[in-house]
Symmetry: C2
Subunit: 503 residues, 2 copies
């Protein structure tokens, strides 16, 4: 049976190579490509996506998978080979339900919509984006209809990012967050003076921000021989292999915190991808398990490390060395508090730990309404603004600061947003768990020693890639199922320590 397995593995690697090529083209499009290259690039991406899809759902793959049923059963289920067969079978059965033409059309529409979105955001003109969004949603409904086993079409979309999760589960968790977070927001809003983040505002040249970001994330694990850091309008992380990790960031020259935390955030994603076992290279298992687990890693490094008190003992001298004028006279406590300034704001990616989930709940609720046809897309800006007012008490000055701020819908990425909030929750579940094994973590962080933390995460989570389901993987790394309580406890404690006790 081993030659049958070898054929399967080789065929799957070809598919993966095509996906990686598409991934690099997409990275290039967002970081390097001259703007006039966009139209043809959309065609290239459509072809690669379709060829990868066609090759993956080829009858020969189904035949090989079937012939390997007993071979798979003879292997330890946690082995790389059994996992590859198991996960490939699950993916195969799912993707066979999607016609190749639909997959190609989705890729093409997404690529064109991305260009329109950039243009729409630049001009703060939703009308430019509307027809492309309509096309994306139309195709998403066609896509969801390929999976009649999901009564709720939104579940079919969610499943792509968080296999096995349902909208009802998300709703339950989000309703629990809505019980606690608004009171915390009210408390913080009433005590705004308690925390001052002026230290992060001023003039910070992009080149020096880059130097600072790299200096810090090199301590986390950024390897100049195996990683890059570039600029993109919407920061993201990607890879072509575990030894070629691509982070992106953006620099706001009047606000240092943006690139500082974006860098740590994307580094968290990068560490997950770099940490997948090299034995899984070029297979479909060489990727983070799910988006919420991925986000748990970016959030862990951004918030639980980067916004912690011991981190600033380590980091302040570095920040001072790059920006001596601004930080020469600032003490650790001041910068720590500044890093934890909380207040309702318009832009999700700039949102603090307290308000972030509310941005997500807003998007999740709008997505469901769009997918269920309860909200006409031309009314989306109005619906967006109404919810912004309801959850955060704010009204965007224009759509660039509202409904056009995120890249996701331009790429057809519905069902993606909820995983951001779940990542927040999981990051604290993991953080609570690792305290037992890393009793010196606080001390280590204050000295800039992140190898023990990285190793722990690598062993419990990163190395596995996609070998196990999101639920199984969460169990391995957090020791239990999804649970909002650790996050709510953490958030409540942090809010009170910074903004005074809630009476």
């Amino acid at each position: 049976m081993e030659h049958v397995f070898d054929e399967l593995k080789r065929s799957l690697m070809e598919v993966q190579d095509l996906r990686i090529a598409a991934g690099l083209m997409s990275w290039d499009q967002q970081t390097m490509m001259p703007p006039r290259g966009a139209a043809t690039r959309a065609e290239h991406l459509a072809t690669l996506s379709r060829l990868a899809h066609e090759r993956f759902i080829a009858p020969r793959i189904g035949d090989l998978l079937e012939r390997l049923t007993s071979y798979e059963a003879s292997l330890p289920p946690e082995s790389d080979d059994a996992s590859l067969i198991r996960v490939a079978r699950r993916d195969y059965e799912k993707q066979c339900k999607v016609p190749a033409e639909l997959a190609e059309e989705q890729a093409r529409a997404a690529s064109q919509a991305r260009v329109a979105w950039i243009e729409a955001r630049r001009n703060a003109d939703f009308a430019i984006f509307l027809p492309y969004l309509e096309r994306n949603v139309e195709l998403l409904l066609e896509y969801a209809a390929c999976f009649p086993e999901h009564a709720d079409p939104y579940d079919a979309l969610l499943d792509d990012y968080e296999s096995g999760l349902t909208a009802t589960e998300v709703e339950t968790v989000f309703n629990r967050l809505k019980e606690v977070q608004p009171a915390l927001v009210a408390h913080v809003t009433a005590h705004q003076d308690a925390v001052d983040d002026a230290v992060f505002w001023g003039h910070f040249p992009a080149e020096q921000q880059r130097t600072l970001s790299i200096a810090i994330i090199e301590h986390f694990g950024f390897d100049p021989e195996g990683w890059r850091l570039d600029i993109a309008p919407h920061p993201f992380a990607s890879k072509t292999s575990t030894t070629d990790i691509r982070l992106t960031t953006r620099y706001n020259e009047s606000h240092l915190a943006e690139s500082l935390f974006a860098g740590m955030h994307e580094c968290g994603h990068g560490l997950y991808e770099a940490g997948v076992s090299p034995t899984l290279e070029r297979t479909l298992l060489s990727r983070g398990c799910s988006l919420s687990l991925h986000e748990s890693q970016s959030r862990l490094w951004e918030n639980l490390v980067g916004r912690s008190r011991p981190f600033w003992t380590f980091a302040l001298p570095i920040v001072r060395s790059v920006f001596p004028d601004q930080f020469g006279a600032v003490d650790e406590e001041t910068v720590y508090r500044a890093a934890n300034k909380m207040h309702p704001s318009l832009i999700r990616v700039e949102a603090d730990e307290l308000t972030y989930n509310l941005h997500i709940i807003l998007r999740f609720e709008l997505e469901r309404e769009m997918i269920h046809g309860r909200l006409a897309l031309r009314d989306l800006p109005e619906a967006w603004n109404a919810k912004m007012e309801q959850y955060l008490g704010l009204t965007p000055p224009d759509d660039a600061h509202g409904v056009l701020q995120d890249i996701h819908w331009s790429g057809g990425g519905f069902g993606y947003f909820p995983t951001y909030a779940l990542g927040n929750l999981i990051s604290v579940q993991i953080w609570d768990r690792l305290q037992d094994d890393l009793p010196d973590l606080t001390e280590q962080m204050s000295r800039g020693e992140f190898a023990p933390l990285r190793t722990w995460l690598g062993e419990r989570l990163h190395q596995h890639g996609r070998k196990f389901t999101p639920r199984e993987t969460l169990q391995k790394v957090a020791g239990g199922p999804l649970d909002p309580e650790p996050y709510l406890r953490y958030l409540t404690a942090k809010v009170q320590s910074l903004y005074g006790p809630i009476r």
Copy 2:
């Protein structure tokens, strides 16, 4: 028959998209990729190359081509569609002779050899590169053996870069060059003091060199919305579409001339690729016709424009604005003469118009000996150095400045070098021809007006892409077959005008 043609065109575009993806991966490898990504990148490139090859030589393509024979005959031969069928058939028949495994192995070996070559060059250690070169040559012989119609295996290799050209023809032309050029070299060597290029030596920060290069090549046609300029160890030009052109260059901070002329050179290549008719986009016709025609364009912009007297009337003020200290007091005649300093040197890409062809003749002769098994590869450095002494009177201090200087052999590119010298010859054939149509060219160049020249080249050459054979295309643009005499006349006149009359 139109639906048959549509299917052919669609299938060929898929193949082309795979090639473009591989091209972008290769560009990325040379400009952006972190070094540790190399091993897996070799696998990715091997897969893409093999899939493109497999899809191109699929029996279905042969079937479509056959069914289109009479349709093709019904179309004007110069039409895009007839040309696509004709050239696709020629490529198909050729590539069908090469097994997919061989094509894949060549791509993988080349990718690995490239990494070894970089390492070898860095350490000036040919032994690091030797086993990879041996593997490349071994595979080239296998490749040449796929084409028994070529009595000389070297002709099979040459045909990939210059379809229809034979080693015997090259030898004839090169022998003619050898009749004239050595006497010119002797004359220049004896009158070295006549031209001083000190003005190009000093300290020129890379960032400012970049500013200067872009300022000049924007006048030639570089479009910031459709082009990029990056750094690569061996400068090259590539594209993903006619509106996404990628130039590369390198900066020697003590020698301004390198990036200045490399920028103009690569811009010439880029203009050819950008100028291919948009109606050919994503087809196999959307590429320069042959390497010698390509090189005629890079040489035309680098030498016939960039090393001309009127060019410096236009360019000196720009150079002065970027480097006021070094060029504030320099006059046009001085910088023009400096740009034309000629002297035997070790490095091909730094060679002047006079000695360049001798570097090529050396490589052509060594390649033939290697391919014919008359030279053991371990003896290559010695053979290289012997010919350097014979043709240029120089001995490289180490192999980094000798046999390891060029990237081509690492990529398995044998038969490529001769096209550089032929490009020099053709550039002057074209230049002579366009004088009739552009009587004001000298005036225009001195004012920085290059649109008429670009338009002429676009109409006569660029737009056609690969629609016609190299011989046909040369006829269209130069009005005659390959001829070394215009180049020799040009060179002789230039040498005498700068270094005094030869008695």
